[in-house]
Symmetry: C2
Subunit: 460 residues, 2 copies
């Protein structure tokens, strides 16, 4: 096989120069010798497109431009790096770049999750490369392993902590026992949350990443709209406490799962919600703003990838890694792996997805309560795994030799006080579980639903 020889430098156009862009600029300059050695030819920055050039004294004036389209199409540009963020104008610009045959490196998760298929199609039409390692979990090398290293295996499940802000909040709640509102305020004060934290705390950011992960893991086009989503704003100090009492901790999880229906037809479930996981699970020890992704595959078994999920330098590191890959492909005259959507699995609705619930109920402390509660579960064909109670109701409601073996000791409360029932279910369709909770909340004997949360990661 003869190898083509290229001596012209690889020309790079940088779109955007915010937190990540400045770090990319720094690494391009500081690592220029290393980059040349790794790529085989020099890597040369052709221009930097920004909206307000006067705000960027750190960029040599002759490189700055406000005419992004002209920069993309300028002679000598091989690779376009996009760190603008958001859907437009990033979408139009990257489509123009791909149509012009430029390789594209982007850190834009929102764009990928919403318009991935359109971008892939444009890349395919000209054979241009489209790389986006930085879009999920910052510097953690995750997308490349998923789409390359595990390419000969069958991934069954991806479970990730992919949003640093929410992990920081939940870790702090777990340590302090404080409530959500109070903790968010403190985390904002420390600069770990955006001024408008909606995208993080409502799970939109995690859902975009789940869409990208599910697409790669299952060779199926999954967009943000396909991802079921709940944020952490409803997580209470009571939930955290309940988790702790069960040897669990609460994490906002992005879950991408290969599922089969009763007829054996495969589908994809992609979902984001806070869930209780055992403290012995590798994801449970991921603290502060760290990210980690737990991958299960048929042959490889369980893998975990851990690191910093955000921040200028880690994101820039991932961008540079992609730049080297695209540049190498250019030098070699080839291109990287393309989109792989051949499996084209159907998206399974959340209601049909099998999950397990933890419930903590405050009930009247009188005979017959457990029987009524159990009856509601039975009506919805939901099987109970564990019941634990404090207060007298449970013992009085059941013959003494028929109590569930997992029931905890009975601590009689003060006269007139309610009893507390903690229930963990077996796997059941999520819709059935939600109906069960709604029906329970309406029972006369249930004073309050103290905590409801899904349970994940019980079986390795």
């Amino acid at each position: 096989m003869s190898r083509p020889v290229r001596v012209a430098p690889i020309g790079v156009a940088l779109l955007g120069c915010g937190t990540v862009g400045r770090e990319v600029l720094r690494l391009l300059t500081e690592q220029s010798g290393e980059l040349a050695a790794r790529v085989g030819v020099a890597v040369r920055l052709v221009g930097v497109a920004v909206r307000r050039p006067q705000r960027h004294p750190e960029v040599p004036a002759e490189l700055l431009t406000t005419d992004t389209v002209e920069l993309i199409n300028r002679d000598g540009v091989d690779v376009v790096i996009e760190v603008i963020g958001g859907v437009e104008p990033a979408r139009s610009l990257l489509l123009a770049a791909l149509r012009a045959g430029r390789g594209v490196v982007t850190a834009n998760k929102a764009l990928l999750a919403e318009c991935g298929p359109e971008l892939y199609a444009a890349a395919d039409a000209t054979g241009a490369d489209l790389y986006f390692e930085a879009a999920v979990a910052g510097a953690i090398p995750l997308l490349r392993p998923l789409r390359e290293s595990l390419a000969g295996d069958r991934i069954t499940r991806v479970t990730g902590i992919v949003n640093g802000t929410t992990n920081f909040i939940l870790s702090a709640m777990d340590s302090s026992g404080a409530g959500y509102g109070e903790t968010l305020a403190e985390v904002s004060r420390l600069g770990y949350a955006e001024a408008d934290p909606t995208a993080d705390v409502e799970g939109y950011d995690a859902a975009a990443k789940a869409a990208i992960l599910a697409s790669l893991a299952f060779h199926t086009r999954v967009t943000s709209a396909d991802v079921y989503r709940e944020g952490i704003a409803e997580v209470s100090a009571a939930d955290i406490l309940a988790a702790r009492e069960l040897g669990r901790t609460v994490k906002l999880l992005a879950i991408c799962e290969r599922v089969a229906d009763s007829a054996g037809t495969e589908g994809v479930s992609a979902r984001v919600y806070p869930a209780m996981i055992p403290r012995s699970h590798p994801l449970a020890t991921v603290g502060e703003a760290y990210n980690a992704v737990f991958v299960e595959a048929d042959a490889a078994g369980a893998l975990m990838f851990y690191g910093q999920g955000a921040g200028g330098p880690p994101t820039a590191s991932a961008v540079l890694g992609d730049l080297v890959a695209v540049a190498r492909n250019r030098v070699a005259g080839g291109y990287g792996p393309r989109e792989s959507a051949y499996a084209d699995l159907p998206i399974r609705p959340m209601g049909d997805t099998l999950t397990s619930y933890h419930l903590s109920l405050e009930v009247l402390d009188r005979p017959g309560v457990l029987a009524q509660v159990a009856q509601v579960f039975a009506e919805h064909e939901v099987s109970i795994m564990v019941v634990r109670q404090t207060g007298r109701a449970l013992d009085q409601a059941l013959p003494s030799n028929a109590g569930p073996s997992n029931a905890g000791p009975s601590n009689a409360g003060p006269a007139g006080a309610g009893a507390n029932l903690v229930i963990v279910t077996h796997l059941a369709p999520d819709a059935a579980l939600r109906s069960t909770v709604d029906k329970l909340a309406g029972l006369d004997v249930v004073r309050d639903v103290v905590s409801v949360m899904r349970v994940e990661g019980e079986v390795k």
Copy 2:
């Protein structure tokens, strides 16, 4: 950019059919549809070379051959997968394959660590691909991230638990408090150690992996012979107990570090030895036979990769991932990243490497002992970070207002009993630390050196 179109299947020759080979065979068959979708053309097994065909009823007879060289050179072979292991004949066979322009996928760490440069050169001469993800840490996607994802970053240190057998033994010793010999016997009985465990317990296996990791991380040719090596056979129950008392645990670490001497000249330190790490370190929770590699890079920060480091299916998963990459390169007419040894850093000898020691000494319980011990450290220009004692010697030897602030409470032993001194040093050249220990062991006041072990991972 026009894209070449290939319709002929990718032909695969499998050399060896042991534990890993059988799993590769199974995945090639079971995943043939998926592989074709991922590669773009069918992947076809051309032949399987084994020494004793009659022992392989699981392989279709028409595929079996004993003539390995003929199989490698057979028409239609694009990729050679080597899972024979050991240096020869694997080395000669893979050199023949690369010279014939075949892509090579191998899981052979011993071969890579010993003859890597020779194989790389052969691959370069014909532009053939040489992939070996399975050679280090089984299914954990590690080499590809190191040589591709972090290609735009500067790796400063790689610290890995890369041998499952020794991690299993040390984890068991940590749980049970039992000694090394007893634990090895139990682990062997359970089938977690080879009949001859020398390569594992003496650190040869980990050293081979350290050589591969250091080569990739630092763009420098590092072979097994360059790696300083100590195994775990000397780790005692006393060491494990001492670590536990200091909030640490003992792990066999493969450490690859970018170091600078006093003149600022960069070099590479590659070493394998048991060390104490804090229980809060991400590597401390890696139990049983799992592997994990902790990577530190300038921009990316701290990353960790975790998973099963050995076993047929995980290793086969990594082999298949490489096969898909090489096959894709063939279909695209390109090739993957080449060896990168441009940095060519010198290997730093162990004696010059800065390390920190933990020592536990049984000393005579009488005044002046600490002064004598401290004098030995001073003579070797080794600075002490912490001293802790049980017994009376320390307090009596020092004026009451001059004791080190970290000294623990004094528990007076029974009359005539020795005192115990626990010392942790600051970083110092390893040779100076070893001389210090030798000198201490010869002091009249030192009854016994109970435990000596390096300390790692103190600073994140």
